[in-house]
């Protein structure tokens, strides 16, 4: 079981800020593929991965990172702070 958080337009396209999922995925990329196969809204949020960033347990990483032992995964667009 892993907690997934969505922010900004990723959250809007998926339609919820967070969810808990059961997954057999080993990497972020596999998890994304799994989600995309579930419902069209995930396909819409993850159609262009170059526009999405990922953080594992609140640390920025990339889509090939292993999610083994991760408690919290977050997906969001490039940040626009300041």
């Amino acid at each position: 079981m892993v907690e997934i958080l969505y922010f900004s337009w990723v959250r809007e396209r998926i339609g919820k800020p967070r969810e808990t999922v059961e997954t057999g995925a080993m990497t972020v990329r596999q998890l994304v593929e799994e989600l995309k196969s579930r419902e069209p809204r995930y396909e819409s949020a993850f159609s262009d991965l170059s526009a999405v960033r990922v953080a594992l347990d609140q640390e920025l990483t990339d889509f090939d990172a292993s999610i083994s032992g991760t408690r919290e995964i977050a997906f969001f667009p490039p940040m626009t702070g300041g």
Binding site: L5, F7, S8, W9, A55, Q58, L60, A74, F76, P77, P78, M79, T80, G81, G82
Partner: protein
């Protein structure tokens, strides 16, 4: 080194006063404040800022620690707002205290560059009922290169 993420407006003068009072070891204080800019061609009704509680504070503390090491900063303060903001309102501020101004200026610029593209904030602009997320700029990402 401190960071505050809040929805309510802050008073820049009061923040700087509190941040620097009682310090006798610093010879320079630099402050930058970002403000919601009005757009005369396409008027902005308001801005909505979203953030990732937990990661926001953590990532900013990491940036502050790095700035402290690089420029022997005496102290730094970062205040960033989230929620709804109107044109002319302050969005965020950075203040640095150092022995000399060169360190205080450089560290403030470094903190700003990293805040723009490494702290999890997202801005949305609302114009006459239409909402759009602000896109990140390639120039913001390129700005980080000069610190490597």
């Amino acid at each position: 080194m401190s960071v505050r993420i809040q929805s309510h407006r802050f008073d820049i003068g009061a923040e700087l006063e509190a941040f620097s009072s009682g310090r006798t070891d610093a010879g320079a204080m630099v402050n930058f404040c970002g403000i919601v800019r009005q757009d005369s061609e396409s008027p902005l009704a308001r801005m909505v800022i979203e953030h990732y509680p937990g990661m926001t504070e953590k990532s900013i503390r990491k940036i502050e620690d790095e700035a402290k090491d690089r420029w022997s900063l005496i102290d730094s303060l970062i205040v960033h707002r989230f929620g709804e903001l109107g044109p002319g309102e302050p969005i965020m501020m950075v203040a640095t205290l150092a022995k000399h101004r060169a360190e205080a200026f450089s560290a403030a610029e470094f903190l700003m560059d990293y805040l723009k593209s490494r702290a999890p904030f997202w801005k949305k602009e609302i114009r006459s009922g239409e909402a759009s997320w602000v896109a990140s700029k390639l120039s913001d990402e390129a700005a980080l290169d000069r610190w490597n």
